[in-house]
Symmetry: C3
Subunit: 208 residues, 3 copies
């Protein structure tokens, strides 16, 4: 049996290294000298989140018995808002729509936090509210997306598909129906974090 704390330490290490990598990558790139280095912050905030989970701080036990690391969703509220702000910039949204996308993302993750920390059946209400905010975020990003170049569209589809796997894991994990175990949950989230935060970041930082 794999212990999840090992998974979290590996995650902390990977995101600690990717924080450094993005710092170097974005400072080397002269054309990005005056841009907001969002990927440094996304990786750094994720590093803090993994350290807290690795140390087993601030968890609750699901009715089915599995540990729920609810802090994850509060840190996503920070990191993913910065990430979708970057995605909205790539999609050339006006500042007002960028703000909407970031706030919808924040609310998605905040309701995800409530759905995770609440152990009774009431949690599904916040899962529904989280989904509503997520749909609002996607709608704001995808709206008029056909006016953008196909390259931007491919990023949007990548985001849509990979991000939508997070609530799927949530539903299968101890937070939802408890079909998959805590350690497998940790591995799946880590894989999704690497894809959506590091691989996505490298692709965006190095294109053009």
């Amino acid at each position: 049996m794999i212990e999840e704390s090992m998974v979290f330490w590996i995650g902390a290490l990977i995101f600690g290294l990717s924080s450094l990598m993005f710092t170097i990558l974005e400072n080397r790139n002269n054309s990005r000298k005056n841009t907001f280095n969002s990927h440094v912050f996304v990786s750094f905030i994720t590093t803090i989140s993994y350290c807290i989970m690795a140390l087993g701080l601030a968890t609750v036990t699901a009715e089915g018995g599995g540990l729920i690391y609810w802090t994850r969703w509060l840190f996503y509220a920070g990191s993913c808002s910065i990430l979708t702000l970057d995605i909205a910039s790539i999609a050339k949204k006006p500042n007002e729509k960028k703000a909407e996308v970031a706030i919808f993302t924040f609310l998605t993750m905040f309701c995800g936090y409530l759905a995770s920390i609440i152990l009774t059946v009431d949690r599904w209400l916040f899962f529904v509210l989280s989904t509503a905010a997520y749909i609002g975020m996607l709608y704001t990003i995808f709206n008029k997306a056909n006016e953008e170049s196909s390259k931007i569209s491919s990023i949007m589809w990548f985001v849509l598909i990979t991000w939508s796997l997070f609530p799927l894991v949530w539903v299968l994990a101890p937070t939802g129906f408890g079909i998959i175990a805590v350690d497998i949950t940790a591995i799946l989230y880590l894989a999704l974090d690497i894809v959506t935060k590091i691989i996505f970041g490298i692709y965006v930082s190095t294109r053009k």
Copy 2:
């Protein structure tokens, strides 16, 4: 006797519906295509807040015996900051003053949260600090308001009068002197929320 959880469920329903209404209203209006749809977020954040109160999560019991739903004030910190940012935009304030208005509102509600969660007489200290931040917010909005059109002034007076009823309810409710009961408190706040967040939003969204 009316149970307050029923009031909160009605509030959750009303604000859930108004979130949908503002989404439709603001997307139909082409002249507002690239504006920040603040009323969608104000209603949606208020929906989350009412769900939490309806489920009776995270409360404290006042010395006088009444339940205090302190989470209300943390959600106001989010929703009302977005609302006053919109009001400052209507008053054509420069961006620096908009930021000041939003932060003053946040601090008003945050001190209101401290005044609500603290049960001893010390809570009045935070009521005073909250009032100081509220005065700072009003001063920043009203300053030079005479240079604006009379229509804008009428909005400002509407805000001044309706918003100032919130601390009045706070003082009379179990949070303050405990003169009015928990269920009446819930009804009064709901009425004020509907006036300041939905009726105000419809008026602002549909004018001109």
Copy 3:
């Protein structure tokens, strides 16, 4: 023996008065009419923080026995982010870099909060993460600082030296090695708060 609550009340009084002073100072100065009055907010947030500490709310006891007022760091996350945003403006940074400086400051103080509330040896991990964010903040401010005027540079050096004394106090206080007592810690932090928030604010508000 000096009791630390007296130090905190003195701090609350000093920062309450400086909130008023900056309100008057910045409203009198016509050239700053449309600027963001950051020092008002820095002082006001610090006032709230000192009131909470003076009332002895929300503390933990270190393994060495001293009380840890961890709320201090959460309020620094707000006040110091506003302060470094102002410093980045003085250094004529573009908006993207101002945002980076503010977020790095927020993360420095947030990790400082985690390092303070965690009592085991694990806290040093968050001290390291806090230091990493602090270095990121300093790097973003100092980068290309040689292109700026010498006056700006002198402000930067003042910030570097005075701000770096905060982690030094943290290491010597009950949060770190417990070499200095709780009351001395409170006095040292108050002295540093006055220098970095009030004296710095007066200097910046009155120059030119």
